[in-house]
Point group: C2
Chain length 394, copies 2
């Protein structure tokens, strides 16, 4: 059976050249980067070379990059590390309602620890309004955390404008850029953020490697205490092969970014064009310009996202119904609800996220099968009166 | 030049069979374990199989194992997670003075957060006395954290007796078993601990994979908040290949443990026998029975550990002067000082930790070169009067 992977926001396949770059560090170069002899020096040099490549991808200094094990760890580190470091300046945080669980649940943890959090609403396309952020600021506000782009609806947020608002006060800005780093241009100096989270497996790098940009001079408490790794900011023996892979993936993403974007956008736009033409199928999220280049998300009326997923999967088409981190929860997505999408419609969420391995033929196959799946599910849906002619029921 | 790696407490080479087991998850099986379609199911099953193997190694239930990115993360999770979960029961912790930095610095972080910590001394061989622990207990004590074995001096602590002391009260016990898991028998039911940390790269598994045993029913706050991975206890996309590798390494360690121990002990004992016979060279740490099977550590009078390391390294002999996590700090080891070793002597610390790849010929080479290195360094040491005949100086 044909297999079409359209769930690149869940994870990417590892690029074979990235794996090749990692292999020596699984074999002869197994040293601990803190060791003073040659095995250690080689490992240490490999990490620093990777740090330079990741820094190059986002236009930071190498010393502003700290490696973590995941984007989730980076997000926890940012929120809780700044909360601790700045608690004497105030105890109020602002986060958007379209944040990843690792941001939202870090914020909830801080609420239990004496902080207050304002959860900023978004408009119907998922955009955060910088003016809404401005109005939420209090004298106590120390941190604003807004995602660079939502992996659920593909909306790229007006981060630069949000940073401007924060700069009027002395407020630290963090952005979860896990969905964007390596996929669209991310320039921390241009964006002006203080902290930015990323994950290698979102740009054809390995799982187990994430990173956080920490602007030079910014004070932050560690999340993982221990040894002197990562300038004392993140303890634990470095995952050398994964870090090397993240560096290689960053280098490739930088070099190939424009061609990747130019390849993905037309494929995405074709999906959006055809699917938006189907009755009762609604595009969710941002417009084409402010949308992840390989991201097409929809709500389908009268149909459960989970049922679509499984039927599509039976045809070798692999997609998602929301964030992978909650895809087994079978609840309407908080992100979609925050955009004002009614709960019933939000249940019919489906997300196609494309990668460089997808071909135009894959898209043809998807579009054809998707229409058949919708037709079939609507035929058996008790809610689809007025759309199909059949009565529902078991 | 001959290369002899004697620093297995810093990190182990990855076993080639472990790497083979990991490879499919770097290639075709790249799915996110939370995805509902086949790539996800395969990845999820691989993780659960690995969990079963790790559980088998330490005699726990699979559901009692949570994967982390490192032993340091596991230690942070244990101390801070229990501190948060039990803060209403009390705010006092007990840790030993021979703990890893990730335990000690987590404890110091908790001290800044309103907890008090008693740091338990050890005897001259590095043993924690259960009676000393008993005397340190207050009505406020919620957690005792004592390492299963020190990677610096190889001493295996009387953990079972310490657990008995804790059981007299309702005190949670954590043990950092990073140095022991996979290397000597670790049976969490027999030990009676509530939490136990481990790291795959300490038993020929990959870097980037650690784990923590959490006794069924024990309440603990997460360290990394976010999605529903690891039963909601540890967020972040799972590092599937590394977890699979940890499972394979655990399976192999269980099957080969006795033969590995029987191979390593005589090599270790030969090092201890010969080196202890050299004038002004002193064995540090526990006796043979209560010592890691491949671990031989010494203090050499009148000589800097760092100088020994570098000269040995120039002969292709790779060893450590203390914990890898602080080996660049060039200070006398707190572990050695806590054992009552004078600061000057503690500077001459050197640790040889053996692995299954070391041959008897490697040991011959080490013993021969070590004596030459000591002789050479003493000839140039200004402190070695009475040992050599030459005057020191530059």
């Amino acid at each position: 059976m044909k297999k079409c992977y359209f769930d690149h926001v869940a994870t990417n396949p590892l690029h074979p050249e990235v794996l090749d770059a990692m292999m020596p560090y699984f074999r002869e170069e197994f040293g601990n980067p803190l060791s003073v002899y040659e095995y250690g020096v080689t490992a240490k040099n490999a990490i620093e070379e990777a740090r330079g490549k990741v820094a190059g991808l986002i236009n930071s200094k190498p010393s502003e990059i700290i490696f973590t094990s995941s984007g989730a760890e980076a997000n926890n580190f940012a929120l809780r590390g700044i909360a601790i470091a700045r608690q004497n300046d105030g105890k109020h945080l602002i986060v958007s309602r379209v944040e990843h669980h690792s941001v939202l649940n870090s914020a909830r943890f801080l609420e239990k620890s004496g902080f207050t959090v304002t959860y900023i609403p978004v408009d119907k396309k998922g955009f955060v309004d910088p003016d809404t952020v401005r109005k939420a600021i209090t004298k106590e506000t120390i941190l604003i955390s807004v995602t660079h782009a939502s992996s659920e609806v593909g909306t790229i947020e007006p981060l630069k404008d949000i940073v401007k608002v924060a700069r009027e006060r002395n407020i630290t800005v963090h952005s979860d850029a896990v969905a964007t780093t390596g996929n669209i241009p991310v320039d921390v100096k241009d964006l002006g953020v203080d902290l930015l989270s990323m994950a290698a497996h979102q740009f054809y790098g390995p799982k187990g490697a994430g990173g956080i940009y920490i602007r030079q001079g910014l004070r932050i408490a560690p999340l993982i205490y221990g040894g002197i790794q990562e300038s004392g900011r993140r303890a634990g023996t470095e995952n050398v092969p994964a870090i090397v892979g993240m560096g290689k993936a960053a280098e490739m993403a930088g070099a190939e970014m424009q061609s990747r974007i130019e390849y993905l956008r037309p494929l995405r736009d074709r999906i959006i064009y055809v699917m938006s033409g189907i009755k009762n199928v609604y595009l969710t999220g941002g417009d084409k310009e402010n949308r992840l280049p390989g991201h097409a998300s929809f709500c389908v009326e009268f149909i459960e996202g989970e049922a679509m997923l499984l039927l599509l999967a039976s045809k070798g088409i692999f997609s998602a119904s929301g964030s992978a981190c909650s895809s087994k929860a079978l609840k309407a997505s908080p992100v979609l609800l925050s955009m004002g999408i009614p709960s019933g419609l939000a249940q019919g969420s489906i997300v196609f996220s494309l990668g460089t391995g997808n071909t135009p033929e894959d898209i043809d196959y998807l579009l054809n099968e998707f229409q058949l799946v919708i037709k079939r599910l609507r035929e058996i849906s008790p809610y689809a009166q007025g759309w199909g002619d059949k009565e529902g029921g078991a």
